[in-house]
């Protein structure tokens, strides 16, 4: 007992100006890192392009070959990576706060399963002619599935409690995944066409697709920043939140809407990637802070950073344009996450 002493600064540290300042500085640093990695990702490739060419391609487009490579291939790809990473990580953080479950991810609202089912069904019904519309099918499928989950979760007499919502989500997701698998088992052509997408791929994204979903992501990110303070309260549980005067049901509903916007658009672009949404919020919680006012912005930046870097690694190290980013990300991210989980969790947390 003698050795048990509370670290003197614990109470103050959480709110102290200094800690807040260093976190803000870290956030700025992370944003800078994200921008640098994005520019590097645009420059690097089988055909390296100088930074000045990148800038002039963006601002003074002249139609040369390098400019075409930048604007038609690399820029959409990097933009898609950033949108997807930020959207998935933030919506993962929101899901974990709302459900108070460390296993929660955007997929738990049925987003991934809904998107995959819609894409597979559209390919089976209309053949490969779907093209650009695939994004909309995926988005619609994700939104529909999530709405179903929310309504199934709220029909009970006490409204959408976290546990009911989570179980409803697991049920709907399994249901849709089973339907998808059933289709794919009987339809080899669709399986061949869709299997790269289902593990998360960034190849062949067009600026048109990126611009189509970008407004939803931006709206969702803005909304999530405003939501952040309420998420911290919500993550303490319905009872505490109610006692603190929060209308838990309202904020929970709003959170679901934001998750649909963010991860629906992300999944529409890159396919049902699970890892970012599940792991990035944990990484932030283990390293930076448990306060959602910090978790949300850090998740957005680090999530985007992870997808950009994973895609870059896939293109450079493996020299393969269509290597699924979902795989590279898990290969790089999982060992790091394991290390964190092992060394940054206390010995006796339940």
């Amino acid at each position: 007992m003698t050795s048990f002493r509370r670290p003197p600064a614990t109470e103050g540290q959480f709110h102290s100006r200094r800690a807040e300042f260093s976190r803000a500085a870290l956030l700025v640093l992370a944003i800078a890192g994200l921008l640098v990695s994005a520019i590097l990702a645009i420059m690097a490739g089988q055909n390296p392009i100088s930074p000045s060419t990148v800038l002039s391609a963006i601002f003074q487009f002249d139609g040369s070959r390098d400019h075409l490579v930048v604007t038609l291939l690399r820029l959409p790809r990097i933009a898609a990576a950033m949108i997807a990473g930020a959207g998935l990580a933030v919506s993962g953080a929101i899901m974990q706060a709302v459900t108070r479950n460390p296993l929660a991810s955007p997929g738990l609202l049925g987003i991934n399963a809904g998107a995959a089912f819609a894409v597979v069904a559209s390919l089976t019904l209309f053949g490969a002619s779907v093209g650009n519309a695939q994004v909309w099918y995926a988005f619609a499928g994700a939104a529909l599935a999530a709405t179903c989950v929310f309504f199934i979760g709220s029909v009970g007499r006490i409204g959408a409690t976290p546990l009911v919502m989570v179980l409803a989500g697991a049920v709907v997701a399994t249901f849709l995944t089973s339907l998808t698998t059933a289709i794919l088992i009987f339809d080899q052509t669709t399986l061949d066409a869709v299997r790269l997408w289902t593990v998360g791929s960034l190849s062949g994204r067009t600026m048109e697709q990126v611009l189509a979903v970008a407004p939803y992501t931006l709206a969702g990110l803005a909304g999530s920043l405003m939501l952040a303070r309420h998420l911290t309260t919500l993550s303490l549980g319905t009872d505490v939140a109610t006692a603190l005067g929060q209308n838990a049901a309202f904020w929970r509903g709003l959170s679901v809407v934001i998750v649909i916007l963010l991860s629906g658009s992300a999944v529409a672009l890159v396919g049902p990637v699970g890892f970012v949404g599940l792991v990035v919020p944990h990484i932030i919680r283990l390293t930076i802070s448990v306060d959602y006012r910090w978790i949300i912005p850090f998740s957005a930046v680090i999530g985007a950073f992870m997808v950009v870097v994973a895609d870059l690694a896939g293109r450079i190290i493996l020299a393969n344009q269509s290597f699924p980013v979902g795989v590279t990300m898990a290969l790089i991210g999982a060992p790091f996450f394991l290390w964190l989980a092992r060394y940054r969790t206390g010995a006796d947390k339940s």
């Binding site: 409803a168 339907l179 590279t328 092992r342």
Partner: protein, 324 residues
Amino acid sequence: MTRAIPVLIIFNLMAVIAAMMWGDQSIAWSDLANAVIGKASPELQMIVIEFRLSRAILALLAGAGLAVAGTISQTVMRNPLAEPGVLGINAGAALVASVVIIAFSGVSPAVLPWAGFAGAVAMAAAVYALSWKRGTSSIRIILVGIGLSAFAGAGTSFLTAFGNVVDVQRAMIWLSGSVYGADWSKVHGLLIWLAAPLALSWFCSRQLDLIRFGDDVAAGLGQNVNMMRAFLILLCTLISGATVATVGLVGFVGLIAPHIASRIAGPSHRALIPVAGLTGSLLLLIADIVGRTVIAPAQLPAGIVTALLGAPFFAYLLKGRRHV
């Protein structure tokens, strides 16, 4: 509680009889009775006893195993979403099975169960070992399980994306879980393998009740929490590893059957474990009957039908629920 168990047993028996009667060739009551007492023609005997009954019993065993393993892991992790897959069991089995099916497509399918079991046990052991740091904690096991599953999942995804599409399809069928090609040797194997762990988990029901309260309370009530958690995880791994090896990945039963059971039987594990087991077996058997009859002569893997049937049913159960 005492009433629920006999009722569930009767339902299970009815499902077994239905499984023996229905199929490509429907069998009349009298023929069925003759087959059971061994007086029917050899073909009929073959269909009813060798094919249909063994398959039904295999589904019962697998369903019960998955449900009990799910109950244990949800209690030990204190997380309503913690199906045995959280321990990495599914991801490990899926990775090894995909490697066998896709990368070494020439290997005989007889290797698959052993490969799946080895993958499942190896992953669970790795998750446990990596989360050991002067004792374990539920949250660390969950986090490490997420990380390792993602790692193994990346390997599976890679094979899925770049393997030969015919092999990928075969792997998907195995992975989605089915009781195709059941025979009595498989039934015996699974029965021998499951009997002791299932019985032990029922004897542990008091310890399960305790550990659910949290590490501090359980320790205060005299439980050696780390030992017990290790033992329960071992039981869970053995049960679900053997089940996954025999029937593939049937994920939904392990998640849903414990929740349905706790609605029927309440929180005490003495009642919860048998009710969960019977619910799980009923769920998987009905799913298999539906899967092989609705679109006959083609068959849907039971794992898929379980979710297709179980999901609406569970949604209905949630509807009337006041307290969760």
